[in-house]
Symmetry: C2
Subunit: 128 residues, 2 copies
DNA sequence: TCAGATAGGGATAAATTTTTCCCCTATTGT
DNA sequence: ACAATAGGGGAAAAATTTATCCCTATCTGA
């Protein structure tokens, strides 16, 4: 595993959020687990842009941070299910707020993001 | 400037949020600008753990994404002020929600974060 | 005259995150 | 025998993000 060289600072609330939610796929993982997609393979199908490997890594972090639990069923082929902890569930309204904001502003967001991509990264080709 | 090699995908709302808010200091920048700390030097004093350089870079991205505006006063020494756009202001309640969650759960968060740091990165020495 | 404040940027290095590639477990079905 | 499925994980490469270092400019105050 990678060994951090710079210790994070945990002064304010936003620092703490950073530690637990800063990871490209974490919010989506929490969201989909909440929606009932509990098995690793399901989650991977829901998030095809991430590799199996990263999802495992980020799920492990979520587990270490006590936002999800991992239950292994001793069957063959193996079966694993993730669930939100009570603590993890308290995040759902927060994630909803984020998602709602994005949905409400989807058009504008998409437009400014694409504009920046086109100028800053000219080889980007997206939807018009 | 760094040239992206992998094009981001912008399928769902959470992808869009990632593009505009994924940056170590962006949420704090928006927060402090909203609180009235508008000048670059003020922002740097509020966020001493970030270097001037990164703040400039992230502020530029926020500007490109039309969350903030940058006003230059033609005086010497130079004076610059950032403000939230109307679009940027709509993010404030969202950031509040995040901050409130973190404040409410500060103790627990701190505890699980430190626990993980201690086991995963044994050379970490933090508060007990 | 020199230090400090103000704002900014290029080049490069370091840190961190994510991807790629390959390998392992065991059972079931062909 | 062999592939498929379900779940993993290590090592190394690639991508990306942050940090470091050094340089620009002008004015004010000691």
């Amino acid at each position: 595993m990678y060994e951090r060289k710079i210790v994070p600072n945990l002064n304010c609330g936003l620092d703490l959020i950073g530690e637990v939610l800063y990871g490209k796929w974490k919010i989506r993982l929490l969201w989909f687990i909440n929606e009932g997609h509990k098995r690793p393979s399901e989650l991977q199908r829901k998030i095809p842009d991430a590799t199996r490997r990263v999802l495992n890594i980020q799920l492990k972090e979520l587990e270490d941070h006590e936002l999800v639990t991992r239950k292994i069923y001793p069957v063959v082929p193996p079966k694993v299910e993730y669930s939100l902890t009570e603590f993890g569930k308290t995040l759902i309204p927060v994630i909803s707020t984020l998602g709602n904001w994005a949905d409400t502003n989807e058009e504008h967001l998409r437009s400014v993001i694409l504009k920046r991509l086109r100028t800053a990264h000219p080889d980007f080709v997206g939807q018009p």
